[in-house]
């Protein structure tokens, strides 16, 4: 990452929790506008950038996906603590959407059993090492049930234009504050 320049240069991030990555695909569909974005902001964390640790002092973040497991929970809390504007990015983040379809059917054991035992081709058994498969939360939650959310971007996925408009208004707002 380049060192902070004198004039204000927003630090933005995107985060992928429990979702299909479709929202990120839509983000990437902004194509050449992404170059324009790079002109005005630094992307400091993203699944499409090789950064291991979510950094401090992020100005705005797009969070795709719902909170479904302990890893998601740990990350979203960290993201919240280190970010000024947190955007629930797409329907999974806003409502739980398809990822929350498991909620009506019972606790996580039901699904682990189905996925790793009943449907297993070889070596049935639920992986209990949570560094391999993170522990599932009892229920899948939309972001705002876990942390404070500043803006909501609906859509499955949100259209590239909607993402661009939201980013511009979020960054514009931050810029004015400087």
């Amino acid at each position: 990452m380049s060192p902070q320049k004198k004039h204000f240069r927003p630090r933005i991030a995107t985060v992928w929790l429990a979702g299909c990555s479709g929202c990120h695909m839509s983000f990437l569909d902004l194509d050449e506008w992404l170059f324009d974005l790079a002109e005005i902001a630094d992307v400091v964390f993203s699944p499409i950038a090789d950064v291991k640790e979510y950094p401090e002092n992020v100005d705005a973040v797009l969070v795709e996906g719902a909170v479904a497991n302990e890893d998601n929970l740990e990350l979203i809390r960290k993201v919240r603590a280190r970010t000024k504007i947190l955007v629930a990015f797409g329907d999974c983040a806003v409502t739980g959407n398809v990822t929350a379809l498991r909620n009506p059917l019972g606790g996580p054991e039901v699904f682990l059993e189905r996925a790793y035992v009943q449907e297993a081709d070889t070596q049935p058994g639920i992986p209990r090492d949570h560094s391999v498969v993170p522990e599932l939360l009892p229920r899948v939650l939309p972001l705002h049930q876990v942390v404070k959310v500043d803006a909501y971007l609906r859509g499955c996925p949100p259209s590239p234009a909607a993402i661009r408009d939201l980013l511009l208004s979020a960054l514009g707002g931050e810029k004015e504050k400087e």
Binding site: L73, P138, R139, Q145, V146
Partner: protein, 543 residues
């Protein structure tokens, strides 16, 4: 049937009375404590003792101090003694004590059994109008009611008064509906009287649904004819010829006694056609509820009488214009009808002299909860809550009275510091509660107010009919939030959301059940907000 026949029945009844009367409570409260066996033993013992020339045993209704049941009262009027002098009330009587009781009664002595002090404020502070016959007349014998001036008011109305005069009397008495909301009864009657309808109906709402309320049940079990007489008078006043009593299925004894009362009244010509030779017909049918609190709401009640799901409908149209099967219908509750005969017998002025400026007469309460004397009380309007709780109720035996809950799931919790509030419609409303139908539950330190609010919300959630969205889904969400607060998982945001939901459900629900469902939350928030706030967390906790 004419007046002389009525008087003849009363005279015969009086003539058959014995000097010593042993009355055993056979209302549900005492029966559930074993009163039925006590009654049987007393009867057996009396016939075995040979004292039946001097002593009689009567199966009467509720004697009010339910927490000490089964209750047996002995009145000795031999040697011309006034009843009050020779009355003794025995408490917690067992069948095995019948011989002692009967022997003592025969000999004009007090039995060595635990007795209730009849000079206690529980009895002396009461003002019986609705309950004047309660525990005195035999509910299963119409003659007993006639002896106590029963059906005289109906006779007077049919022979000497025009329907307009009857409505006017009720209006002048200042009687307001005893079902909860307190709508002036006279106005309600005049609306139905004026309505143009091919047919009109009278409905008695006996779907007493508030948890912790048993006033109507006690009246129906103890003095059913009083309600029938009130309905017949109402029918004459508004021009109806058919009536229904919609009664909870959970009250088998009251149903049974009403059936007996209707049958015997019909046999004597006090129901049916040309009552008292007047051009007036009136028949009453029972409709048995099947367990739905919402059926206390009048449009739901009518749907249920018509054999449908008890879903309320938007008002207007009101039942006075568009009621049962589309006809003009008058709906009053049990206690309202029970006030009618005395008002007509003794006059509107007499009735209006009891109570306060805007709330006339008396109110029956079922006093229960953390209090020494649990039971049925009838007090003049305007009496303070403190007098009821501390004097009549004898205070809390184990702890400190914290709040008094009135109005059931539609009402609120009034904190101890407001105990000097007079009991009238307006004063209770000012404190965010309602008069309600008469449940009065005393709570102490051991009751957490968040849990009390949650309890009532669960009730509303279970009883919501599901027709309108705010009540159906709103009660579920409010209940969830209350649980979350109680279980120390909620934040200040959750409390704010709860308050917003209360506002929405209160103002957008279709019927009274939903509109009042937030009341227990709002009133506990108003007076016991700290109990909520103490439970709040700073951070979000996941379940």
């Amino acid at each position: 049937m004419d007046k002389s026949e009525l008087q003849a029945i009363a005279g015969k009844e009086r003539g058959a009375r014995k000097p010593v009367c042993v009355s055993c409570c056979t209302a549900a409260g005492c029966l559930s404590a074993g009163g039925g066996d006590v009654m049987d033993s007393l009867r057996e013992e009396l016939s075995a003792s040979g004292a039946s020339q001097k002593v009689e045993v009567r199966a009467v209704g509720c004697m009010k101090l339910c927490s000490r049941g089964p209750l047996v009262r002995v009145e000795d009027t031999s040697d011309g003694r006034p009843v009050a002098d020779g009355a003794r009330l025995y408490e917690k009587i067992k069948p095995s004590q019948a011989p002692v009781l009967i022997r003592a009664a025969g000999e004009g002595e007090a039995a060595e059994l635990p007795m209730v002090d009849l000079s206690h404020p529980f009895f002396t502070r009461q003002r019986p109008i609705v309950l004047e016959n309660c525990g005195v007349v035999e509910p299963e014998r119409i003659e007993s009611y006639i002896e106590a001036d029963g059906y005289l008011a109906l006779h007077k109305v049919l022979r000497d008064m025009t329907p307009e005069e009857v409505v006017k009397t009720i209006t002048q008495s200042g009687l307001r509906g005893r079902g909860g909301a307190g709508f002036p009864t006279g106005i309600k009657w005049s609306l139905v009287a004026k309505a143009i309808s091919e047919k009109k109906y009278i409905v008695c709402n006996a779907d007493e649904g508030d948890p912790g309320a048993f006033m109507d049940r006690s009246v129906l079990e103890s003095d059913p004819h009083r309600v029938l007489e009130g309905m017949a008078i109402a029918a004459y006043a508004v021009g109806a010829s058919e009536g229904y009593i919609y009664i909870r299925g959970e009250y088998p004894l009251a149903i049974n006694r009403l059936q007996t009362a209707i049958r015997t009244a019909r046999r004597l010509g006090l129901l049916g056609s040309r009552i008292f030779e007047a051009p007036f017909d009136f028949n009453v049918d029972l409709r048995i509820g099947a367990g739905a609190f919402v059926c206390g709401e009048e449009t739901a009640l009518m749907a249920s009488i018509e054999g449908r799901r008890g879903n309320p409908s938007p008002r207007p149209p009101y039942p006075a214009e568009h009621g049962l099967w589309g006809h003009s219908t008058l709906i009053n509750n049990v206690e309202t009808f029970a006030n009618i005969a005395p008002i007509l017998r003794r006059g509107a002025e007499w009735f209006a002299s009891v109570g306060t400026e805007k709330s006339k007469g008396t109110k029956v309460f079922a006093l229960a909860g953390k209090i020494a004397n649990t039971g049925l009380i009838e007090v003049p309007m305007g009496i303070t809550l403190r007098e009821i709780v501390e004097e009549i109720g004898g205070g809390d035996p184990d702890g400190q009275v914290k709040a008094v809950q009135t109005g059931g799931p539609s009402g609120g919790c009034i904190p101890a510091r407001h105990l000097d509030t007079p009991v009238d419609y307006e004063s209770l409303a000012e404190l965010g509660s309602i008069m309600g139908s008469g449940g009065m539950i005393v709570m102490d330190d051991s009751n957490n107010m968040v849990d009390v609010a949650r309890f009532f919300m669960q009730f509303c959630m279970d009883e919501s009919c599901g027709k309108c969205l705010p009540c159906r889904a709103g009660t579920v969400q409010m209940h969830g939030l209350l649980e979350k607060i109680r279980d120390r998982r909620a934040t200040a945001d959750d409390l704010a959301l709860l308050e917003e939901l209360c506002d929405v459900v209160k103002y957008t629900s279709l019927c009274g059940l939903g509109q009042t469902a937030p009341n227990p939350v709002l009133s506990t928030l108003r007076f016991f907000r700290h109990e909520y706030e103490e439970l709040l967390q700073k951070e979000v906790t996941l379940a």
